[in-house]
């Protein structure tokens, strides 16, 4: 409820400064401006908030390493609507003259932002959207990603499925970029090892009427099911899968988002689900424990993958400022510095590939007692093939 008070304060503050904040203030003081373009309303709001919280925590923790640079945040709600993306990106670029832009969650929005920001001086860091194109055909020197490409969490799962002895897999996801790319990445390694995709189902996004498909899976009786769903869809799918009695009979594999931030809502239904992801809450890395406690102290709840990705975006910025001794006026220097960073992430150290996508471990996790428990490293220092990128 404390949010309501903040609201009232914000109303006053903006009313007073709305007229001033545009260009008059831009010249003085020169703080480092970080534009945040994430969804704070609608279906992706939780992801947006987590990313923003992680970002702010990183910069707060690193405040002493910034060589006196002040940080100013400008936050804009994308509503996950691509139609507004270029306009909001333009606001951050031209109106606020942001040095860094963090966003978005939704890959359609990412396209609109990239269109606006590609080749500009502002550095864009994507803290979630996994769209292959962003670090593929549309890659750009000033566009970085601290999350993943949709290929990364799914590709190693093909080998995992083969190792477990599954020969016939039923693959199901939403018919949109992330869904298609996830299933394709899985099929790439699974079929290369001799596995067979018995059925590939792409449902219209964001339909969550899964029951008929679960019945279909029961009928087809494959060795295992591979899936990508996230958020509400992930909860619904896992629940339907369990409700129709398939849990324990046909193993359920997935891209890690199937069980990220959703375990509480899924309850027992998620037990035994195996997923691949570049992070796990219980990951045994010192940085992870430290981060989780710090996040909990700051915000009163434990972080999820989206917070980690936001946090690493913040670390990338902070480390770059630190290495440049607080002077970020030379954008070429900013980019080349950031390219060479090794980020000490809660997910384990990672570096950026040529296409500016993280080179990172992907872990195989299994849900046990409501927790994603790391079973093994499914792929070590995995680099996205970045097909189509000319960097």
């Amino acid at each position: 409820m404390s949010k309501i008070k903040t609201l009232a304060g914000a109303v006053l503050a903006t009313t007073l400064t709305a007229g001033l904040s545009t260009s008059a203030l831009a010249a003085t003081g020169d703080p480092v401006k970080i534009g945040v373009m994430l969804p704070f309303s609608g279906i992706y709001a939780q992801l947006g908030e987590a990313g923003r919280d992680g970002l702010k925590l990183a910069l707060k923790q690193n405040a002493s390493n910034l060589h006196g640079a002040d940080i100013e945040f400008i936050e804009l709600d994308t509503e996950a609507k691509p139609s507004r993306a270029p306009e909001l990106a333009s606001s951050l670029l031209n109106q606020h003259e942001a040095d860094f832009v963090i966003g978005p969650v939704h890959s359609g929005v990412a396209m609109g932002m990239i269109k606006m920001l590609r080749g500009k001086d502002t550095v864009m860091i994507i803290p979630n959207a996994g769209s292959a194109a962003a670090t593929g055909p549309l890659c750009s020197p000033n566009v970085f990603r601290t999350s993943f490409s949709s290929w990364q969490p799914s590709y190693p799962m093909g080998k995992v499925a083969l190792d477990k002895g599954y020969k016939k897999v039923y693959a199901i996801s939403w018919n949109y970029g992330m869904g298609r790319e996830s299933l394709d990445a899985f099929a790439e390694s699974f079929e290369a090892g001799g596995g067979e995709i018995v059925e590939k189902v792409l449902l219209p996004f964001p339909s969550t009427n899964f029951q008929s498909h679960v019945s279909d899976i029961a009928d087809k009786n494959p060795d295992a099911v591979f899936t990508f769903f996230a958020g509400g869809g992930a909860i619904k799918f896992v629940k339907d899968y369990d409700a129709m009695g398939l849990r324990g009979k046909i193993p359920l594999l997935g891209s890690g988002f199937l069980t990220e931030g959703t375990l509480e809502a899924q309850g027992d239904a998620a037990e035994g689900v195996m997923t691949g992801l570049h992070y796990a809450e219980q990951l045994d890395v010192p940085k992870n424990q430290e981060f989780r406690e710090a996040f909990n102290t700051e915000y009163g709840h434990y972080p999820d993958i989206y917070a980690v990705q936001g946090y690493d975006a913040g670390q990338a910025i902070a480390n770059t400022i630190d290495q440049l001794k607080g002077d970020i006026s030379d954008k070429q220097a900013v980019i080349s510095t950031m390219e060479k960073l090794t980020i000490n992430s809660p997910r384990g150290d990672f570096t950026f590939s040529k296409a500016h996508n993280p080179i990172q471990n992907v872990y195989l996790r299994e849900v046990k007692d409501g927790v994603n428990v790391v079973q093994s490293i499914a792929a070590e220092a995995l680099e996205d093939p970045a097909r189509g990128c000319k960097l």
Partner: protein, 287 residues
Amino acid sequence: MSTELFFVQLINGLQYGLLLFLIASGLTLVFGVMGILNLAHGSMYMVGAYLVWYFVAVTGSFTVSAILSAVIALGLGILIERVLIQRLYNRNHLDQVLLTIGMIFVFNSLQSILWGNDPYGVAVPEALSGSVPFTDNSSYPVYRIFAAMVCIAIATALYFIVSKTRLGMLIRAGESNREMVEALGVNIKSLYTIVFAIGVMLAAISGIIAAPMSSIVPGMGESVLITCFVVVVIGGMGSIKGAFVGALLVGVISTFAAVLMPTMSNMIIYIFMILVLLVKPQGLFAK
């Protein structure tokens, strides 16, 4: 598709259709009696789901939570009708549409402020958590059978109320003739308040019933709204019977479409609706 799978999918489709009917019934009732197109109907569905989630977390009992949520929704309905809708009866229909769009904004925002944006789930109540054997390697959850029965019970109750009781008589009369109802000495204002509140409560009850089977997420209201409109339009706006038939048709068709041609399945119900409207421009059970 084997015969067995055909029947399995038919049952899935009917179950989905029954839930659709429950959501759509309130919408069609309000439109039929008051002529108001309530675009915020989906938000009421969302409110029901969030309320029951909240109360289950607090009280631990699904039954208590369900009753509490339904009562609150009823009160909310009365409040909205008295404070907002009532002022617009003499106005252009589009003003009412605009008002309900404004309400969508407000409810979405309140949901985010009061309950945050994490996705939630409600556990199936203990007594209904079992399942019955179904096919070779799948079973059918008891709760879903229960949910379907609740939907049938509410459909029956609605049918009974509308066709057999005094309130129902007034509702039917109010649909065709405002003056006549007033001549009967009934305050049309209170009738409208009751009908609107019942409409809101029906939407909330569907949210409550659906909560343990689905995920509770921001934006869940808008996603059911359009499907709901398709149902109501196919059946004929304002007709409860039409909504029932429309819901079952949409439920079954979209279920089969989802399996047989998954990528097309969202389009199928629209294509079906367009075909229905081309043959019957006022829906299947037009007044």
